[in-house]
Symmetry: C2
Subunit: 426 residues, 2 copies
């Protein structure tokens, strides 16, 4: 009977057995009498030791996909305590003769464009692979923490008939014989979700047709959205986010420190210590009379530095932006200030959130004050007649959060296939 | 100090305490000297008992969002063993005076269009809410089972420069000064993921600009995708799906049987017992010489009936469709038959999967045999020079799976906001 393939992580319990493993040649050292192959699969790496005749005609090279049969032997010097004495080996699929880099290369000198052009090979590299393993872990911990706190996951449509913020920056789709648009946020749908389930979250793409070409913007990004009902004010949402991110960061610190430490010297901080500052207080602290409606990148960086000095964590919640600068559905905090907040982390805004208006008449007034006819939002406004509770929520940009955690300088490094003003491939 | 809101599921440990709860009025019975309110929040329901003066001026009605203060009392007749003796109550937001149905209505007589038009209220109803709670559970169990088996979650772009299957049925996007398209599948990206991580999955939307208006088609649906490397053949993918769905079904049976039994009399079957039949064998069993390239809905229903009789489970894997009827990247099983399969479950195809070609030269040949110039797929073909292992995978339609599990007659009932030929709202 043919041998079943075994994962590399399961080899240590099989000393003395003949096994079949499959994976890529991650490292290769050819000596006169012995060839050493490090084989890598999705569970780990193992050293394989072969006499020349075991590899006859095989001509192995880095990044070939191979299978190896051999005997598992104890070896104290090896990771996991075992290595494989190769009996036979075969190529499953060859890598090209020349590659711009290998999966075991030091890719710090390889440009981002090349890494993107050869995405699979980059993912196989521990450096780039780590970024997306961390991203997958963030997603997992985000969902599991919220699920344990009575949030229900929803899946809402990304094809919509209009925008949530008045119809700007939308990508238009040819939808049979009419026009439709790509959703710029699941905002309305998650509010509907609140009126149904009280607490909902969604992880999914959102789209912004903004002609930015900065290191912080993508036209398609992945949004971690949550919305919760029966709140007293925006502080309830802030407190939830503090606990949520503190949990995610603790899990990353404990489960992924070997990855994190390649990117940052310090462990991720407990965001439970991040202060809440009002927008006006921020402007005063910075002495920046020119900041009228919003913060700018320099202000975000400075505020995080101040937070680090004063509170020991380079993060701050900024609450109470000018009401006119926030979307129409924002609940007021005072007459001119919004019950909306941003979370700045390590110098960059990674979250926008706040309390929303929950009464139809307030939403109508807010629309009219912005010169928008409430009739154009009728199908949404109608949902506020169904017992919509006071509510609020937030959205975290997954790529930005990943980039800040790993201190990447460009958000594109945190997107498997980034989309911007100029790029729709690969 | 003001009372903190308490979740209803936490009340049983607070007998004798004064508490504040928030939620919706789910049921209401007004007697001369006492009013009974059943309040519902995201964690459960509780009976609240009020003297008329406690509700003075409140005029409560069904589906109002309210808060109630009162004392938790033991009551053997009540669910959870406790009820609340109301001290004060207040309206947080009123529902409309007249609604087409209430969250406590028997909604079997309410049409799907009305349920969709009043989505939040429908979600608050146990019947519709159950559909999306089950859907959230499917997503959770899909991800957690795969994560435990060394699959890494990826997030791939839905904005693409072309199709995976030759460019038909794509929705076109106006992307700044050029055209782009909505992805009809993450197929290429998950194959790239295999070459990087060996095992990947993705849960996300896919788009098909097909002018269908059947009970089984949506233009935007949610696809549960996985792809795995180093396989021996399509049977490896089939075996993985058997185990995966058997796990998901077991979890639904054990954790959600009170929901399931409203929709189906029997527990969900173990799909480990689903047979594998070749396409040719299916045609012969059905005596249907007219089935040349694919099965039709009647054939899918009949095959599931036969499987139920012979194997005790109304599901079957159909392997070996005519090669010409499957996408160009399909690996052959024999010269004219594809190493691709469908999973039929309870009369409907819910999965398409199979082994893919993994050698560049085979892909080029397959493209040319279909009259497609390989140069138009160059950026994808190049990925096959990076040590791409033999691989395969599958895609499960989330709405179809949900509909089959709950025996819903129309896939739209399993989409929070369905999109079809005629609908882009709400």
């Amino acid at each position: 009977m043919a041998l079943q393939r075994v994962f590399i992580s399961d080899l240590s319990g099989r000393v003395g057995q003949t096994v079949l493993i499959r994976g890529w040649i991650f490292r290769l050292r050819v000596l006169a009498r012995t060839t050493f192959l490090i084989i890598k699969d999705c569970t780990g790496q193992i050293q394989c030791v072969a006499a020349p005749e075991a590899l006859r005609d095989m001509r192995p090279k880095l990044d070939d996909a191979v299978e190896v049969q051999g005997v598992v032997c104890e070896d104290e010097r090896a990771k996991g305590g075992v290595e494989i004495q190769v009996t036979t080996a075969a190529i499953l699929n060859r890598a090209a003769q020349t590659l711009p880099f290998n999966s075991s290369s030091d890719i710090r000198s390889v440009g981002n464009e090349i890494l993107l052009e050869y995405r699979p090979l980059a993912l196989r590299n521990d450096g780039v692979g780590a970024v997306f393993r961390i991203q997958a872990a963030i997603l997992r911990h985000f969902r599991e923490w919220l699920t344990a706190r009575h949030f229900t996951e929803i899946v809402s449509s990304k094809i919509v008939s209009g925008g949530t913020e008045g119809g700007t920056n939308l990508f238009e789709i040819r939808y049979f014989d009419r026009a439709a648009y790509l959703a710029q946020s699941p905002q309305f749908y998650k509010e509907h979700g609140v009126a149904g389930f009280e607490r909902v979250f969604e992880t999914g793409h959102v789209y912004r047709a903004e002609p930015h070409a900065t290191s912080r913007h993508l036209t398609e990004y992945y949004s971690l959205d949550l919305e919760m009902g029966f709140i007293d004010g925006p502080e309830d949402v802030i407190e939830l986010e503090r606990e949520l991110l503190t949990y995610i960061f603790e899990r990353l610190n404990s489960d992924h420190w070997p990855i994190l430490r390649r990117y940052r010297q310090d462990k991720l901080p407990a965001l439970s210590g991040a202060p809440i500052w009002t927008f006006d207080e921020c402007v005063a602290r910075l002495g920046r009379a020119d900041l009228i409606n919003d913060l700018d990148p320099e202000a975000e960086r400075q505020l995080c530095r101040i937070a680090e000095e004063e509170c020991g964590v380079a993060a701050a919640f900024v609450l109470g932006f000018p009401l006119a600068s926030r979307p129409f559905y924002t609940h007021p905090l005072t007459e001119a200030r919004a019950a909306g907040f941003d979370l700045l982390f390590d110098g960059l805004e990674i979250t926008t959130g706040g309390q929303r208006l929950h009464r139809r008449e307030d939403l109508e007034r807010a629309l009219m004050s912005r010169g928008i006819d409430p009739a154009s939002f009728e199908s949404h406004l109608k949902m506020f007649e169904l017992g919509m509770p006071p509510h609020g929520g937030l959205a975290i940009g997954l790529e930005r959060l990943t980039a800040q955690i790993l201190r990447l300088s460009n958000i594109r490094e945190a997107a498997l296939y980034p989309r911007d003003r100029y790029r729709v491939t690969p």
